[in-house]
Amino acid sequence: MSADPAAAPPSAVPAVSTSDRGLTPEHGLRLLHEMLRIRRFEEKCAELYSAGKIRGFLHLYIGEEAVAVGAMRALQPDDAVVATYREHGHALARGISMDRIMAEMYGKQEGCSRGRGGSMHVFDAHTRLYGGNAIVGGGLPIAVGLALADKLRHRPHVTACFFGDGAVAEGEFHESLNLAALWTLPVVFLCENNLYAMGTRLERAQSQTDLATKARSYRIPADPVDGMDVRAVEEAARRAVDAVRLGDGPIFLDLRTYRFRAHSMFDAELYRDKSEVEQWKQRDPIATLTTTLKDRGLATDELLAALEVAVSDEIDQAVQYAEDGAWEPVDDLLKDVYTPAEPRRGGPGGAA
């Protein structure tokens, strides 16, 4: 391991600490439930990928669940979310039904994007999830525009923009942070810093590996957060979202996390040591929270087992829903390239 601060063991992250304050059983179990739903859903997706039910690219979020779950807790229903191609967790944590997400993985027309997008392009007008963006950095300008629309219309919404450390090397990252700060726009930039842009480690891509420093250079308040601690993420995100909602401009969070699985299903992981992965797994956000809950007597083994059963049942149902779903008729191939002359009632965007 290098001596670079970004590469330091996660325990050294100067995170917002929450570990010993006011955790109720309900809250703790809710967080655990959300993270478990993502973990087990994706484990099932990996299985279904091997079975040929899910095709294309599949990028798993396993290990990073605390980020989406903690951050989504801070948002209101009318806030907007822009995510990346590793967004199953965001979609689940945002409240889109697992059935529709799984149907999207299959490419069935019951999927949340009618099967048109697949794993990388989960969209949902109802919860204002604007993708599922698979061009690294490409979602940031859209988030800036969504926030601009809210500001111009005097709506008190916040746009949560998720992206990875890889996006920080893109020009759009710098343009977007600059514009959001310049125009005092209500965006929370949530950098899911898992240390690798695909297979390129942060210090092999960045001259400045402290990402908060980059954000601060645009006069954006920025903090590192322990992205393996769901409560730390939740608290940092809540503070950020609340502050942004007041109208003082964007905030940046460097959420330090780690991807336990390969980048995609085609990745032989030649670029990192197994020992590094094992080291980070010691800080598995699900195991950590489970231990906390048990140690403090907030959850029993029976309760935790029941949670697993509930999640497993939900997944079985989602798989069945996807299996039972229909393939979009080929006659519909050209549908929705353009908006039909008599627009259907769409999302909050232009179709309205």
Binding site: S113, P141, G145
Partner: protein
């Protein structure tokens, strides 16, 4: 009827849109205090204020992407990109996002965005400010491409484009901004669906758009003096192509020349010729011809720039060859 310019006609269209729809705003490089690099938006900042006439940093990708986001958020943004060459910095947003999101989201989100930009050569601006890449954009499903050539279209296309629920790219040829003419006092929105026959004729169909319309009309005058009656079609919209108007004309004249400031290789002119051949092969009396820009980056010196671009004599030569060819 009043005398106006192409520039003023677009400004009048911008003003109309800003007055009529509170969701409309204009953003781009130097559209505000500077008054627009081609002075199109001059005076609008004073009239509508900085919230609606927004100067942006030189960040094409992000301000175009912000236009997409604002459209998703319920606004009706007009984004000005200084020239088509600069729009390449925003190609990711235009091609990967604006053109795809409706389809990729299963029809959940439309993007009612208008992107205006200057295009074309003729002002000795060399190879990074003078290309005609609108035909490239016409390759992309999910967006609409319009090219106002007349004062009526400069005045009328913007409002119609804003009513389109999907992204529209509007290309203004930079040699047209100073074009003067008269415009009806009640000039207003025009359709974006049909090509226009700018000169009716019976012997050969000349198909063009944008500023080359005028070179083509000039060639048609030369041909008329020789007794050849050319029909001139202004495409107006490059995507979707109005093949009905094109084919009606070709079936009448049996000869077609496409005149395009884009290059020939892999181009819009190639597409039009292919469709004519596919759909009207047995109506043709001669192989379709093309007059396009020479396959070089646009050079700076005037004589070389002139030589690179389609010019009236070359258009007339191409038409003459088809008319005199005997099958």
């Amino acid at each position: 009827m009043g005398t106006t310019t192409y520039r003023e006609a677009i400004r009048a269209a911008l003003r109309e849109a800003l007055v009529k729809d509170a969701r409309v705003f204009l953003m781009g490089e130097d559209v505000g205090k500077y008054g627009g690099s081609y002075a199109v938006s001059k005076g609008l900042l004073d009239e509508f204020g900085p919230e609606r006439i927004r100067d942006t940093p030189l960040s094409e990708s992000t301000f175009v992407g912000a236009g997409i986001g604002a459209a998703l958020g319920g606004m009706r943004p007009i984004v000005e990109v200084m020239t088509v060459n600069f729009s390449l910095l925003a190609l990711d947003q235009i091609v990967n996002n604006a053109a795809t999101i409706r389809h990729m989201s299963g029809g959940q989100f439309s993007i009612p965005l208008v992107i205006r930009m200057a295009t074309g050569a003729g002002r000795q601006l060399a190879a990074q400010h003078a290309h005609s890449l609108e035909g490239w954009y016409a390759h992309i499903p999910g967006i609409r491409i319009v090219t106002p050539a007349t004062l009526e279209d400069a005045r009328g296309m913007l409002w119609t484009a804003l009513q389109d629920p999907d992204p529209v790219l509007l290309f203004e040829h930079q040699t047209l901004y100073n074009m003067e003419g008269t415009l009806a006092d009640d000039a207003g929105p025009v359709d974006l669906d049909r090509a226009a026959v700018r000169r009716a004729g019976t012997d050969v169909t000349l198909i063009t758009y944008g500023a080359t319309l005028y070179k083509t009309l000039q060639a048609a005058s030369t041909l008329a003096a020789e007794g050849t009656d050319a029909e001139v079609i202004d495409l107006r919209t490059l995507r979707p192509l109005d093949m009905t108007t094109i084919l009606e004309s070709v079936r009448k004249t049996h000869r077609a020349v496409v005149v395009d400031e884009g290059w020939k290789s892999g181009s819009l002119s190639a597409e039009i010729v292919a469709r004519i051949v596919e759909q009207a092969f047995y109506d043709l009396d001669a192989p379709p011809a093309r007059v396009c820009t020479a396959e070089v980056p646009i050079p700076y010196p005037k004589h070389l720039e002139d030589a690179a671009l389609p010019q009236p004599p070359a258009i007339a030569v191409a038409a003459r060859e088809l008319v005199t060819r005997r099958v």
